[in-house]
Subunit: 378 residues, 2 copies
């Protein structure tokens, strides 16, 4: 068992844990920067280490299409290809097929679709997703699931969930037969709880996956357009049926306050493209909420982006970063991306410290209150 | 006198020197990375230090238009605004008005033009160029000159040169009256030799500028579309009339072999946007000539870009950088820019070492021979 539950908060369900993976330990709760195409956008792996990133994501769909998992396998896996030496998690490709590919058609066998790059016809199956992820050599591979849209009728959600469970079994079978594929290091596998907004379906999904026994469990089908309360409810509906001694991962979210809400509900792992994506649109997270660096109010501001920023960024004034952003200088996108990831990684690190110190509730309330107090700029 | 001539090569006119500037020493020959808008494109100032950059450029025209020299002056100058702590050189803005601005009209007073950003009508004069550069607080400010086009009739080149000399006098007057403007640190000034392809005009220009007595001298009006031999001739026609105890700067060039040719002709300082500009088009310099990283030949190549690359880049394979470039990942532009600047800075550093060791001719011949041997990819 690679997960040690170190402490559970008394007032909430927040947990501090230690995940032991082939490429290193991960202290939870943890935020995982997203390296879709084998690179966390704009950043050098050495900068990710400076940021204290402990685990990053790679996207199976993107890497399969380009440069191809066979090429990466020939390098010895995604770690050797990218030179990132710490743990990595790969998703299954299911969500990207759902959100990016064209002409998607779901059958019992898998999903037929056209590549978003060149329109070529492709098919992703549970077995192929597992094979690609084994070739990539990630520390954690995600099971191939179907992610129903929001809103979604209960009948469709139920059928979709049954398919996800049958696919989970096929993934399990493939893993049992084929591991390890790329190297001597083991790969861990997380099941993905689906069930849309329906409590009984979330429970059913969680129970069926736990029955199959995976190394961890994710809650999927969240952050797909539903209201925030539905997102929280999806977590609340799944967590009670997940084992306490396995890590829990809420996929693809969210805002800083949402992350804290998820942590208080017992979630250990997070990933989200938002910190780097909105950085490229000129938005920086601060303890007083997000700011748009383009705004005139920053034109002569000699202060750093945020009082808590990393020295790599805090040496620069808001005025300078604003100038760079307006002038189209890439350095501004680097600095904003670095800063936002530092903000998220600090958030989960501080949450962990607070959990261990028994002060998580106070930390959470105080953070959210200040974050939401000024809403003038976001 | 801030320039110490340390050694002159016996077989060529190559020189090794030490330039002592307000923000630090510069060992010549030196390549100066270009930070047009207050940022060397894609790079962090800490990376420039890792690269061993000793002096960088800022562009007066760009910074005047955006964010404005008054804003930068309020920060205490360009060093404080950008956080680059080593020497900086600013150009006069004349070349950018010539190459970027619209509706340019030259009068005795200065140059009227329309901003390339928003079309607003502006006027740059010798006095204003000096004032802007004093506000920026660069270590070396360039005199405001007129850069004639190529080709250019002798009559126009002669008239243009006379204007450049009159403007040089006005710059000198402004400097005498107004220095120092921004802070207690002195600013040094370089005159710019013009005269197009005409030997007698180059001589006249050099003599007139030397008569006015500046801290260094540049050769301008090169790399404006003329054949390579004309470029070398422009240097050959100017250098004999420049004092040995002042630094010489060839503006805006060139390829690695051209840099070595210029060094052998007695030039000490270089700047060029090429290393960073062609990086953004996927080209990397190597000891065997430039390579296009997009080329299929690099798809599975596990070697670094170049055997002499910096560890910041050499940890990555050509295959990975090619993947990043094709996928539109900004990290590829960072790595190629960093690599190309490392290549240029190594080139001038090795040239200097060879000059001091008395082996410059051999170094130059051997470098150029290998660089030009393979012409399959460039």
């Amino acid at each position: 068992m690679p997960f040690l539950l170190q402490h559970t908060d008394e007032k909430t369900s927040a947990r501090a844990g230690l995940l032991t993976l082939p490429h290193g330990d991960v202290e939870t709760p943890i935020f995982m920067p997203v390296g879709t195409q084998g690179s966390v956008k704009t950043l050098h792996p050495a900068e990710l280490e400076d940021l204290g990133a402990q685990i990053i994501l790679g996207n199976t769909y993107h890497l399969w299409l380009r440069p191809g998992h066979e090429l990466i396998k020939n390098f010895g896996g995604l770690h050797d290809f990218t030179t990132w030496r710490k743990p990595m998690l790969t998703d299954s490709g299911g969500f990207q097929v759902w959100s990016l590919a064209k002409m998607r058609k779901i059958t019992e066998e898998g999903v037929r679709f056209q590549s978003h790059l060149d329109g070529s016809k492709m098919m992703l199956t549970p077995e192929l997703s597992m094979e690609i992820q084994a070739s990539l050599g990630s520390d954690i591979a995600m099971l191939f699931d179907e992610c129903p849209p929001y809103p979604c009728e209960e009948k469709y959600a139920s059928k979709s969930l049954d398919l996800t469970t049958r696919w989970a079994k096929r993934c399990k079978d493939w893993i049992t037969e084929n591991q390890p594929l790329t190297n001597a290091l083991p790969q861990h596998h997380f099941g993905i709880v689906q069930g849309s907004i329906y409590a009984d379906l979330r429970e059913q999904s969680a129970r069926e996956l736990v029955e199959l026994d995976f190394d961890g469990y994710a809650v999927g089908g969240v952050s797909v357009g539903e209201p925030e309360e539905e997102m929280f409810r999806a977590i609340d509906n799944a967590v009670p049926f997940l084992p306490k001694d396995k890590p829990r991962y809420a996929m693809g979210l969210g805002t800083p306050p949402q992350i804290l809400e998820m942590i208080s509900r017992g979630v250990d792992m997070f990933d989200c493209v938002m910190p780097t994506r909105i950085a490229r649109h000129g938005v920086a997270f601060t303890l007083d909420g997000p700011i748009h660096i383009k705004n005139l109010v920053h034109a002569n501001d000699q202060r750093p982006l945020c009082e808590s920023s990393h020295p790599h960024v805090s040496r620069f004034s808001r005025s300078y970063i604003r100038h760079l952003f307006r002038a189209g200088e890439m350095l501004s996108l680097r600095l904003l991306s670095f800063h936002n990831l530092h903000f998220y990684l600090s958030l989960t690190r501080h949450a962990r410290e607070a959990i261990l110190a028994g002060t998580f509730s106070e930390f959470k309330e105080s953070f959210i209150q200040r974050y939401n107090a000024k809403q003038t700029e976001s």
